[in-house]
Symmetry: C2
DNA sequence: CCTATAATTCAATAACTCTTGAATAATTGG
DNA sequence: CCAATTATTCAAGAGTTATTGAATTATAGG
């Protein structure tokens, strides 16, 4: 992740419809969702509008697409999201981990719903 | 962190000068930097331009300010950054931690420069 | 092959954002 | 109190971005 990519990613995430799409696809995982299904989830937004935002997100590297029959399936690009987070917080501690550990805890909690659960 | 706040934060981060300011302040920590010093670090940008971007960042909740003599000192709002990351990645695993653990690892690494080092 | 379905592309318009330079406000030292 | 320093506010103009509706492309089924 470099500055240019990060700027593109943040710009993509700064639009309401696109942020909702990414958050929806983050919960959907690698399986993804068809463009039409995403449009329905976005208050039935016009398909041209969906295409605009989906291609914007793909251009930014935050989602990936594949064709399945007549549908195009979109899914979140988790490694890109991880890279973005890392880029933003790089060198946040300067030897003082307590300064940025809240961010680590916030993110870790997303993967550890049960106390003392799986650790990868 | 709600959707509105997240949109504001991402919009703030999607501008080159502002992203650089945040990354600079993230490395500076709670100590922060005076507005003028930040301006110098940004290729000597005009002060009105700095004020515009700094107040944009403060409005978005990503930085905080305090007066010290004639200077206004800006510092990163680490908890807000942590909240933003958590909001973006919320419910990313759905019981499958391996899906989002790269993001956790990326962020954790920022706080653990030395292998087996401090764990807070 | 023809129709229906699923999605993208395009052009025009409306809305928003950034930069610049000049003016203003707050603080300190002499 | 006056001048210098530090920073913010404001208005205008240039550039960028999102929405809409119509036209186009790709695939599947009868």
């Amino acid at each position: 992740m470099n500055e240019k990519q990060a700027l593109g990613a943040f710009a993509a995430l700064s639009q309401e419809t696109r942020l909702r799409i990414v958050r929806l696809l983050v919960t959907t995982g690698p399986q993804g969702l068809a463009a039409g299904a995403i449009g329905e989830a976005m208050d039935g937004a016009a398909s041209s509008r969906m295409s605009f935002h989906l291609s914007h997100l793909e251009q930014a590297g935050l989602v990936e697409s594949r064709r399945e029959g007549r549908s195009i399936i979109y899914s979140a690009a988790l490694p890109a999201l991880a890279g973005l987070v890392e880029f933003l917080m790089r060198d946040c501690c300067q030897g003082h981990p307590e300064v940025c550990s809240p961010a680590v805890a916030a993110l870790s909690s997303c993967c550890e719903p049960a106390k003392g659960a799986v650790h990868v």
